[in-house]
Amino acid sequence: MTTLTAEHLVKNYHLRRGLRGGTLRAVDDVSFTLEPGRTVALVGQSGSGKSTIAKLLLQLERPTAGRILVDGKPVQRRGGGLRRYRRTVQMVFQDPFASLNPYHTVEHHLERPIRLHHPKLASDEVHRRVLHLLERVRLTPAENVAARRPHQLSGGQRQRVAIARALAPGPGVLIADEPVSMLDVSIRLGVLNLLATLQREEDLGLLYITHDLATARHFADEILVMYRGRIVERGDADEVILRPQHEYTKTLAAAAPNPERRLSELRGG
């Protein structure tokens, strides 16, 4: 049970252009809350700062201003506090071909987080947990998959391994940065459904970052629309999609593939 809160997050990047330096405000005054059992979708065009928010929440980058709270307390950035934070907040990366180390087996990828966060476990117990995780993401036979290396798996299978790795420490909050955008269309829904099932089982707070309004509406309770580093619209999923207020959301919703409207247009024309 973890509640993660972002308060007025700002992130500036310093750009070097020749001798003059410039600043780029990638994230501008962003606040939201991730609660157990709820899915928040973060949508926005490329370069709007979605991944930067993920990096801030995972403490891979330091915010220029603003703070991140876990259960109401500011996060700690080093030592035991950081280790506890790593156990609570986990991430599924966008590209399953890049997020698994080609040199190591699936077992290594799942075993490391278990050992890091439960150092007292015996080796056979760790192995049992690895197999259990693989079964939970529906990769069977688990023994067989555990011995493989990433290049021997398909994209969808790799992304399931990445999801299993994120679940390994037993987190309360999961951040999924475009988890299916690199996958074939035919298997996207399977992976998203798996994420939704696991979220329900574990009562996870889920931040679902995506370009895709349709899946955002289907899977999320709340939608945040980002435009140039700012959150320009937020609210209940159906509300945002059906009655968009901001100009940008309107174009986005109009551009989303909508078979029913397309059909009626064809009939009318």
């Binding site: 995972l58 080609p102 890091l116 069977t140 399931r160 420490p169 829904l189």
Partner: protein
């Protein structure tokens, strides 16, 4: 905007296709090709000769008054102008050249690994400082510096020559390693292990270094070739290590003793041939390693291409099917 929800059913893997990664693959070794095998056999034989040869041959320094004589029963590879046994000299020279190669290989690995990999991984001012050092060493012309240092120090040991050669040779490798490490350290799997809570040094040792092994290996092999050829060049110019003998010093003495003019091929051909063979063998090994780093270099072998050809029977059935 209706979405149907599929049941998140199990994704079964085809049973029975249990991938048993071979030991070679798991250890990251290159696949055994004809190129690699040839390189390994030739360089292995030369290394064995350098290791064991000195124990079985005669004393290379013993002077005899028989002078320059061709191969015979007493001296399998003949003698030099001063009646020294060429085979014995060759064995010690091989050991000397290989020692230089080994020392320079290890020193280059350490120096370029430290300045290239650690610098790039640490980032920030450490990286700035390390690449400044690398760039300075890179623009200092190597061979002239070696000649200057060598001619300044009158009494040079094998170690000094090796040290000078590695000091002038590591910078290129360090640059190559730095570039690759910079690309590795921002890979998602490195970020993922940070998110998992791995320690920084462990990420470098366990997640990044294994992926650098092929590149490190090829850099070391290259450094060894460079060192052995460089030392031979120095020795041939009379700037080699004093008190020890290498392929280069043998060639130097053969040249001084007018071996070429006197037609004493048994004196200069063996060291020259070993030098060329060892360089070629290491290059072959290096090509095989390069093919792992850069799969684009992997060309089809002729036998693989032959597999594409249809047999006559297949052709006939194909023709029937189209008619």
């Amino acid at each position: 905007m209706a979405l149907t929800t599929q049941a998140a059913g199990p994704v079964g893997l085809p049973a029975g296709s249990a991938p048993q990664p071979t030991r070679r693959r798991r250890l990251g070794l290159p696949p055994m090709t004809a190129k690699l095998a040839t390189g390994l056999i030739i360089s292995g034989a030369i290394v064995l000769f350098g290791l064991l040869g000195p124990f079985v041959v005669q004393d290379p320094a013993r002077v005899d008054d028989i002078g320059l004589t061709g191969p015979s029963g007493a001296h399998l590879m003949g003698t030099t102008q001063t009646g020294q046994d060429v085979l014995a000299q060759l064995a010690y020279a091989t050991r000397g050249s290989l020692t230089i190669g080994a020392i320079v290989g290890v020193l280059t690995l350490l120096l370029s690994g430290f300045f290239g990999v650690v610098g790039a991984y640490a980032g920030g001012w450490v990286d700035e400082f390390f690449s400044l050092c690398t760039n300075i060493m890179l623009v200092i012309p190597g061979l002239p510096l070696v000649i200057v240092i060598s001619s300044y120090v009158p009494d040079k040991s094998l170690w000094l020559v090796a040290l000078v050669l590695s000091l002038t040779g590591w910078a290129g490798s360090a640059r190559v390693l730095r570039g690759y490490t910079l690309s590795l350290r921002n890979r998602d799997y490195v970020l993922a292990s940070r998110v998992a809570g791995e320690k920084r040094w462990r990420i470098l040792a366990v997640e990044i270094l294994p992926n650098l092994i092929p590149l490190l290996a090829s850099q070391v092999v290259f450094a060894v070739i460079f060192a052995i050829l460089g030392e031979a060049g120095l020795a041939y110019l009379g700037l080699g290590a004093s008190g020890s003998i290498s392929w280069g010093t043998m060639l130097y003495y053969a040249q001084n003793g007018l071996a070429l003019r006197l037609g004493a091929w048994w004196w200069f051909v063996p060291p020259g041939l070993l030098l060329a063979l060892f360089g070629a063998a290491l290059s072959l090994i290096n090509f095989s390693i390069d093919e792992i780093i850069n799969p684009k270099l992997r060309n089809q072998t002729r036998s693989a291409r032959r597999g594409w050809v249809m047999s006559r029977k297949q052709l006939e059935t194909a023709k029937e099917a189209t008619l």
